[in-house]
């Protein structure tokens, strides 16, 4: 799979990857290495210039609009900046995850079925902020907002969760608790999870498998046990510094 952006920047270069069901994969690399592009190719927020993405044998790259929306409906995504509607209530934000299950006319009228509201509430409960359901999203702390983001992804009843730098805007203790939530959900529900991170220590701590990207090319693929300082220096193309680690373990 190759992605070339307009302007000629090659974000991903002849990448070949197979991710197994239920795996917790952490993608590491410098910013600009192609981590976000890789993640966005899975749900085709970015379309590969050449090559294919398959999920369970379904070709995502050739899917038409309708089929693509159905595929996206089962892929949860978590963003660095949470991407919540800040003025909307927390529950409303989580209900956005039910959009592909609910008829469009119901969404338009804001009449979400009771069952979907129950699912949204249950998802908030799983990330421990059910009591915030009727609060505006911008009234929450960063860590709580990211949990709303996770609840929105969970409300999709996803097969896959993609998390793009989910803790980059959070402080170290909050980062760890959000990562623990993601890991716990991965283990309890068996949801395949792909997380982009740039902190080495976090990758080692939470990943089943680490994928290293450098300038759009795959330079490492293995378990945390296979890694070493030398491996990360290869991925980062330079010596590892204190800034590449988050510190403040759980």
């Amino acid at each position: 799979m190759t992605v070339v952006y307009p302007g000629g920047v090659t974000a991903l270069d002849k990448l070949n990857l197979k991710i197994n069901r239920g795996e917790f994969v952490v993608v590491v690399g410098l910013s600009g290495a192609g981590k976000s592009t890789l993640l966005r190719c899975v749900n085709r927020l970015v379309s590969p210039t050449s090559g294919r993405v398959e999920i369970d044998g379904t070709d995502v790259t050739s899917a038409g609009t309708k089929k693509l929306r159905a595929v996206r409906g089962r892929i949860g995504m978590i963003f660095q900046n949470f991407n919540l509607v800040k003025r909307s209530l927390v529950l409303k934000n989580v209900l956005a995850g039910r959009v592909s299950y609910v008829p469009t006319w119901r969404t338009m009228l804001g009449w979400f079925p009771r069952a979907d509201k129950a699912i949204a509430l249950e998802c908030l409960e799983r990330v421990g902020i059910a009591e915030k359901a009727a609060v505006r999203a911008d009234a929450l702390s960063g860590g709580q907002q990211q949990r709303v983001g996770i609840a929105r992804a969970l409300a999709q009843r996803p097969q896959i969760i993609l998390a793009d730098e989910p803790v980059a805007s959070l402080d170290p203790p909050t980062s760890h608790s959000v990562m623990r939530d993601l890991k716990r959900i991965n283990q309890e529900d068996g949801i395949t999870t792909i997380v982009n991170l740039h902190f080495i220590d976090m990758a080692i701590e939470y990943a089943d498998r680490i994928i290293g990207l450098r300038e759009g090319a795959l330079v490492f693929d293995g378990t945390p046990a296979d890694t070493s300082e030398a491996v990360f220096e290869e991925i980062y193309g330079r010596a590892i510094t204190a800034e590449d680690k988050l510190g403040d373990g759980p």
Partner: protein, 269 residues
């Protein structure tokens, strides 16, 4: 050596000062010429103003005291003015929604359609509402309906222009999130656009309501209904005391609506 250096700087800066003065002189002369040209064009001269001044004061004198009992008689016209403004604002707000969405580059990805919507929006605002009203009066006849339609056109353009500009500055992160959960365009608008844009939209709609109240007071001058009709009739019939009452009532109406609307808009933020 020092002296020659000094004189060279002096002559250089002197030349620069002369050039700047020359430029300033030319600009001043051109501006004055434009003023004189305009004043001559409209026959403006101070002597005339002074000569007409007594006439003006006698007109003012004939307006006083205002005919207070006339105040009640114009109540229907006041109400009509308010009704014109309410309907025009509401209908304009509805029409402005699709144009707003089409004229926001972050929602409408279709470049040609976006440019057409923007051009249309700007085009309808280039014509003042009184001109629309005159044309409509000629087309569909005298009365409040023509005036209302004129204000609908104007309101649509203004609300769409202001709201689409706010929309283009909105956080597009939630847009990406709705794309990622498999939402279609309508769902994107409902879940990510409307909640973010609603306060600005309501604020601008109230603001346009204020403008419409003001505009609908003069619609009557071209025969398009409202309190302006009363003002024109009073002036035409030389009933200056009635005209005075009408002007005072108009002033009061605009002031009250402005006050209420401003208070409401403050609460939206």
């Amino acid at each position: 050596m020092t002296t020659s250096f000094k004189t060279s700087v002096d002559s250089g800066s002197r030349a620069m000062i002369v050039r700047r003065r020359l430029k300033r002189g030319v600009v001043t002369a051109v501006v004055i010429a434009i003023y004189v040209w305009s004043a001559r064009g409209i026959g403006f001269n101070v002597v005339d103003i002074l000569r007409e001044l007594p006439l003006f004061f006698s007109l003012l004198g004939r307006m006083l005291p205002p005919n207070w009992s006339f105040g009640l008689r114009i109540l229907p016209a006041v109400i009509e003015t308010i009704q014109i403004a309410i309907l025009a604002t509401a209908i304009g707000a509805v029409f402005s929604v699709p144009i707003t969405l089409l004229a926001a580059g972050n929602v409408n990805g279709n470049r040609p359609l976006y440019l057409v919507a923007k051009a249309f929006m700007n085009l309808i605002r280039t014509i003042p509402e009184l001109l629309y009203a005159s044309i409509l009066v000629a087309g569909i006849g005298l009365g409040a309906f023509a005036g209302m339609i004129a204000l609908v056109i104007f309101s649509t353009g203004v609300i769409a222009k202001l709201t689409s500009e706010s929309l283009e500055a909105v956080d597009t992160g939630p847009f990406e999130a709705i794309h990622a959960v498999g939402g279609n365009k309508l769902e994107l608008i409902r879940m990510a656009v409307i909640p973010q844009i609603l306060p600005s939209f309501s604020g601008y709609t109230l603001y346009v309501f204020e403008i419409n109240i003001r505009a609908s007071t003069v619609l009557g001058l071209v025969g398009a209904g409202g309190i302006g009709t009363v003002l024109r009739t009073s002036l035409d019939l030389f009933r200056y005391q009635n005209a005075a009452t009408t002007i005072l009532v108009t002033f009061l109406l605009v002031a009250v609506i402005d006050f209420v609307s401003t208070k409401l808009r403050e609460r939206l933020i």
